[in-house]
Amino acid sequence: MDKILTVCPYCGCGCGLYLHVENGSISGVSPSRSHPVNRGSLCIKGWNAHEFVTHPERLRYPLIREDSYLRKVGWDEALGFISSRLKKIKKIHGPDSISIISSAKCTNEENYLMMKFARAVIGTNNIDHCARLCHSSTVGGLATTFGSGAMTNSISEIADAKTLFVIGSNTIEQHPMVAMYIFEAIEKGATLIVADPRKIRLAEFSHIHLRHRCGTDTALLMGIMNSIVAEGLVDIDFVKKRTENFDSFRKILKRYTPDVVEGITGIHADDIRKVARLYAMEKRSMLFYSMGITQHITGVDNVKACANLVMLTGHIGLPSSGLNPLRGQNNVQGACDMGALPDVYSGYQFVKDPIVRRKFKRIWGVNLPEKSGLTMMEMVEKAYKGELKAMYIMGENPLLSNPYSDYTREALQRLELLVVQDIFLNETAQYADVILPAASFAEKDGTFTNTERRIQLIRKATAPVGESKPDWEIICELSSMMGYEMNYRGTYEIMEEVALLTPIYGGILHHRLNTGLGLQWPCPSTDHPGTPYLHRKKFARGLGTFMPVDFIPPDEPPNDEFPMILTTGRIYSRYHTTTMCGRTTVLEREEPEPFIEVNPSDAEKLKIKNRDSVKVTSKRGSIRLNAYITTTVPEGTVFIPFHYSVAPANALTNPALDPEVKIPELKVCAVKVEPL
């Protein structure tokens, strides 16, 4: 029996857990008691993080599609096939006809190599990953305001906060260990404010629950700020010394009086004032947000509004005081940090900056593309139009996670070459020309970066199943086959290259991570202890910038034909497209069937009872599933978790994009619900 310390592969909390290995296979899981995030606890997913690793449906060897069936092939044949097809497509259509989707489930080292593969081997900046669908608004919005798009505090600091303002995050279900600290703070007397149209579980414990209309977050935040200014609660010293552009922001802010905002959001003006006071008057105030803020056509504006709020009150740059986007995937922070994005290299160094490009060119030894690449949704659009010829997807399932699945499916089918590299044959892989079997988190080494910027080692516990290989090895072999030698003896060598090229990871080396429980970036040098909270004396970009934002309503308001608002999200026992949870006995059993939450008064109007089958239709598609009648959703709004391939919520969702970062508006679209 061996016990291997590693990191949970589910959410961004990044809990430390031991994998128990008996007779060469995993026999259990236990939490690390001294871990700074989970302190001996785990959620239901963490406790069951081992079972899928040896599931019979794991991909065990490479497959190539031949007509309608998948033929088992050797690695040489599979990689040879991909290499020659990619080279041909690149030669005929140019490097920008190829795109890469990297993975927030994979390690930092793998994301770095994938981004190097796209830029140095293929010669394109067309690389993106699922952060586009979750926190691209954060990366974009906070880059312009603060200069750094990440959680500013550490998770353990939450316990000492006095006011907790949670907007658009279903924290108990999606970041259980963050919720654990929120409860500890409440126990110590903190005030909890929750803003969410749904009566999520956390709202039961809030002192104030603001149920604003879906998609009116900017207005709500502007109203709160207007009230803060009107009541003289601004941290004037902070605004003067640490920020710029306040005056132009203030001009717009004047229009958002609590009464005006009440009209937009449906929140009583007095409640807006109350929240303003509660949030502004306590020094240790923490603001948390997640998909409820980011997944809108105004995602970036929403994030900027949050940033404006913390700057206005000076609630940033201190322990237990800051702006905290809760990142979703186990390594979505890391995948962004590693530059698996179309406009930046690792460490958010801009592709368009010639000095940065020169630096990467010197180490990588090739000319690098100057133009920013395509985002995820643009890739799909170009594929649909036939302008994009090949797509290489590592550890993602866009068919289920992207909005408007029919469109995505058609786009994938139009590709000349689709390569999917995954641990299971997911929905997207069913359209792939080549499928490469990857090793799971328990079968490889590397690092994950959690939502509090903590870079932690994951360690190989067992040998990869079948002929599967760690993603980084696959990328290295393919790259070498395509004529660009990638030769690393282990993931520690890759991290050394990351550290060389990436200032915020400058002191991150595996031997430093091998003892202790991780380091938090920025960590610029090998003697640097890491940074528990950001922006202490100055913002990453120098001065914080107030960005004027204006309320823009959702792209698709309800109308006569589609009278209800659909909002989507996740549930506790499932994770994203459920490739892993769906293959875990007790997780699968919790909520085996898809459902739609309907308010009782809507149910009465529609003449549906609990567990009745209903048909839900939007402009883009239609699905059938059972109704779950609950007051969790307000009247006129329905909620569907997007996990289920038998009734994919994303068959309905709106692909309208935020103009700046191209995140789709997954949180609001118009639907009609009909009984069956």
């Binding site: 001294s34 019979p56 260990m177």
Partner: protein, 345 residues
């Protein structure tokens, strides 16, 4: 049978364990990251941690693993038994866990004998160490489930500084000690005095008292209404941590895995805190409301366990206090139970 009592000098501990390891897998408490302690195979005997905190990980998994392959069925109609028959000796076990095993024995072996548990149990020798420094979470002393046991152990050690006071309490323990009798000597009067000193001080420091019997009587009196369980369960994350970490929780589910021509049957830890645990055909969930599940867990520990197995389903190990993200653990729930029932007369 009065346990055989001996003295083992710490200088001879590694020699003894090394001899035991020649025949068995030696499991011991080793340092994980930071202050973590984990039970795993001992590579280097000198890495075994002797200065241990009171609360160690449960050793339940060595007898009843979280994921346990049971058998393989081949399409040729052949069945391959996958029962684990590794011989193990586990060093450093806590008394509370030893007590828990005597109850698990009743559960798994009285009447129908669970062959998987039986095999592992028969092949495992436990060397427990009397706990000298209880942690704020644990409360074995008031329950007589520790820190010092009179019976039920294979070998019990009491740390006397430079030597261990050794008590042998079972034939398995006897064999593990007596074959190396040259390492041990008979205790002198001073040894007994030192041992009594440790016994007293460990008793004196174990101050946390939780009366399971008192809680049981309160529940049976009908004074504890469902509102109490609603209040207790409202923060439950349904993680299953209390169940997984409890040395006395035994729920499992069984699943079949089809690998081409081979079907493997596996059993896995399950938890009554999950709403799917009692899912019926047609999607009916008798315990959909969270409080019903929390209530049942406490009822199982405090009512059903004593009724069926003549012992509480709790040994005061304090692991649920650590595992629960929102502190819905045995100790604090009983405290709240008494306060609530008290205030309502």
């Amino acid at each position: 049978m009065k346990p055989t009592e001996l003295i083992l000098y710490k200088d001879h501990l590694s020699y003894w364990l090394r001899q035991l390891r020649k025949e068995r897998e030696l499991i011991g408490p080793l340092r994980g990251e930071e202050t973590d302690i984990v039970f795993k195979s001992v590579e280097n005997i000198h890495d075994i941690v002797l200065d241990l905190p009171a609360i160690l990980p449960t050793v339940k998994e060595f007898l009843f693993p979280q994921y346990e392959p049971m058998f393989k069925y081949l399409m040729t109609d052949e069945v391959v038994d996958l029962r684990d028959n590794t011989k193990r000796v586990i060093f450093g076990v806590r008394s509370c866990d030893v007590t828990a095993l005597t109850l698990l024995d009743k559960f798994f072996l009285d009447g129908y004998k669970d062959p998987f548990y039986e095999e592992r149990r028969n092949e495992t020798v436990l060397i427990s160490i009397v706990c000298g420094r209880p942690e704020p979470e644990c409360f074995c002393a008031g329950l007589n489930t520790g820190p010092y046991l009179e019976k039920g152990f294979d070998v019990q050690l009491t740390d006397l500084g430079d030597r261990f006071f050794v008590q042998v309490g079972s034939p398995k323990g006897h064999s593990a000690v007596m074959r190396f009798s040259f390492l041990f000597r008979k205790p002198y009067k001073a040894d007994y005095e030192d041992q009594y000193e440790v016994f007293l001080s460990s008793k004196a420091t174990s101050q946390k008292r939780i009366s399971l019997e008192g809680a049981r009587q309160l529940i049976l009196s009908g004074k504890v209404k469902d509102d109490f369980w609603r209040m207790i369960s409202d923060k439950c994350f349904e993680c299953g941590g209390c169940v997984y970490q409890c040395p006395l929780c035994t729920c499992f589910t069984v699943t079949d895995r089809v690998f081409g021509d081979i079907i493997e049957r596996v059993r896995l830890w399950d938890a009554c805190l999950f709403k799917g645990f009692t899912r019926l055909a047609g999607g009916i969930l008798p315990n959909e409301e969270r409080y019903l599940r929390t209530k049942r867990w406490f009822y199982h520990k405090l009512i059903y366990y004593p009724d069926a197995l003549n012992g509480f389903g709790c040994v005061g190990c304090g692991r649920c206090t650590i595992a629960c993200p929102t502190k819905i653990d045995m100790a604090s729930v009983i405290t709240r139970l008494k306060v609530t029932a008290g205030s309502e007369g």
